[in-house]
Amino acid sequence: MTNSQIARAGSHTGTGSRFWRNKRDYLGVLPFLLLAGLFLIWPTINVVYGAFFSDEGKFSFDYVLNTIKDDAFKIPFIHSLQISVWSSLVGGLIGALFAWAISTGKPDGISRRFVLAAGGVLAQFGGVMLAFAFFATFGFNGFVTSLALKYSETNFLASPNWLYELFGLGVVYTFFQIPLMFIVFLPAVENLKPQWREASEGLGGSSKDYWFRIGFPVLFPSFLGGLLLLFVNSFSAYATAAALISQGTIIAPLSIGNALSSETGGASAPLAKTLSLYMVLVVVIVMALYTLLRKRVSKWEQ
């Protein structure tokens, strides 16, 4: 407080009371609050609030309580959870190992910069463009498919149908999950001090001792954080699936999109809002679990 009072002292001469000074300070955040209120807070409230209404506009728990019982919506949700868990675990593990491998190289080389930039691009490389890249590789005219057809017709790669199923979508997701984990995890592995390994060796520890007693425990919180980010990232993803799978609602975001946009076929705002509410709940629960877990595993952090 004292800092800001001193900083303020110059601008106010005369008798302006502290009360009015404070009020004026709060006015400074008003434009931002208006924008955020309109484009962020109101839509959020609208979703949560709107889920508790019926199609006729009456207050009701119908949608919130019953939607999840309907297989048409339950199954995409389970799929969403499955694909998010698996793509985060696989992508997270590979991405973390890749980060470790890169961290053992030279820190300031041009190749490091190249890898980091490439990782940054690929981590954000979701959506339509990614779907096209996979069409171009594993689709009907993709080069992998052509190769497979030529050399081993029985290979599953020879018939691109797998790409349009849940499994294929998961594989596509790993394509941005791996670089994302690489990018968020690299600072953590770079932070492993060489002294720790040397101290461990000097005290009689083997390489295994070092990793299991020091390396992994120290990295675990960052790894967990990375996994959480990956989970939320794939759970929220809509564009990739929408571009890859043009029909059907195989995962939850597609159900929402469907409920929102198929205006002729009984689009229902409360339904879309209810599904949205479920999604937000999942994210919030996962984040809360993460916070709890992180507190438990890393009481040693500042």
């Binding site: 001090k193 720790w196 040397e198 101290a199 000097g202 520890g205 007693r213 040693w300």
Partner: protein, 348 residues
């Protein structure tokens, strides 16, 4: 050199590209002795220590501890405790767990109750019994280094290796901790190699100090001998402050400021050169017809540091007991001569 040395570094060589970090280094350390390696950065002192720890492979040479050749023994089988410059504590373990770490390893494994007792004893030894449950980030730099020391000593190492353990601390803590390290080392009796670039530190606690340059030892001797009888101009100038003054040498003595003083071995034997004079080797007396004038006076407690301009324009730094400086002020004319101590004279 004695064959009974406990640690023997024989002819160690290591190149990094074109840089010769170690260039045939020989060093013996007796059992229970604390040897400090002193030198500017890049002189190879840290490489030598890391080679002894097994963290640095060598181009040539061998390392013996207790007459056993350990040159190719893996670092985790050498039984050496090491204290690093900083950040070496495992961040996810508290002080006690850090100290216990070595005792959980195969090489030193002991029962849980023994471990606990040993950790408690060592934390007591370094004066941190009350901090056993603190994590590294909750402790000051000095406390962290104490824990690191306790951790290194917990495994009862053959050799204790200290790699600039004080250089990341502030001045006051540094002095305090350095004395404590010496106390603990004497108490435990562990053979110790201490690497530092700070001569005060090295002279302050070591039995012998080795001054390194360019991958070899320039001189290794007890602190007082190193200070008073340097063998090379590098040692003379690197250890302690010196004032270079013109000198004429002949027949084992030199004439400096009109005074004849003996020269030490390693000096030039004839002709003119520069005598390297310690600040406390001067005698200063007030004299209106003196050969010098006082430029500045700085009172340091029991001693007093004078900056004096000589008649020939050279500016020297002199340290004398405060009692003798009471009548000397800025601008006073003084006569500067030398005590009759042997000096090092280098060629010009």
């Amino acid at each position: 050199m004695s064959t009974s040395a406990y640690v023997q570094l024989v002819n160690l060589s290591k190149h990094f590209g074109k840089v010769r970090a170690l260039d045939g280094l020989n060093l013996d350390i007796a059992q229970g002795e604390l040897v400090a390696l002193l030198g500017p950065s890049g002189c190879g002192k840290t490489t030598a220590l890391r080679a002894l720890a097994g963290l640095q492979d060598l181009d040539a040479g061998s390392i013996l501890v207790d007459s056993k050749d350990i040159t190719f023994v893996a670092p985790n089988k050498r039984n050496m405790g090491m204290v690093f410059q900083a950040y070496s504590l495992f961040p996810h373990m508290n002080a006690r767990e850090n100290v216990e770490y070595g005792l959980r390893m195969k090489a030193h494994r002991s029962s849980s109750s023994n471990r606990k007792k040993r950790a408690a004893d060592l934390l007591e030894l370094v004066g941190l019994s009350t901090h056993a449950n603190h994590f590294p980030h909750q402790m000051s730099g000095g406390q962290q280094q104490r824990v690191a020391l306790a951790r290194a000593l917990a495994i009862e190492p053959n050799v204790l290796l200290l790699d600039e353990p004080l250089s990341a601390l502030d001045a006051k803590v540094r002095t305090q901790l350095r004395e404590e390290i010496r106390r603990i080392q004497l108490e435990v009796g562990t053979t110790t190699l201490f690497v530092t670039h700070d001569q005060e530190e090295a002279l302050g606690i070591a039995d012998r100090v080795g001054v390194m340059r360019g991958g070899i030892l320039e001189q290794i001797a007890a602190p007082a001998e190193l200070y008073e009888r340097p063998l090379t101009s590098f040692v003379a100038e690197f250890v302690g402050l010196t004032n270079p003054l013109p000198a004429k040498v002949s027949g084992g003595s030199a004439e400096v400021l009109g005074v004849q003083v003996p020269t030490v071995a390693g000096s030039i034997t004839t002709g003119s050169g520069l005598a390297l004079i310690r600040p406390e080797w001067f005698k200063v007396e007030a004299s209106t017809s003196g050969n010098a004038k006082i430029f500045a006076v700085s009172f340091l407690g029991s001693t007093c540091r004078l900056t004096i301009d000589l008649a020939d324009g050279a500016r020297i730094r002199v340290q004398i007991p405060s009692a003798e400086a009471s009548n000397l002020g800025i601008g006073s004319n003084v006569k500067v001569t030398l005590k009759s101590l042997p000096v090092f004279v280098k060629g010009v």
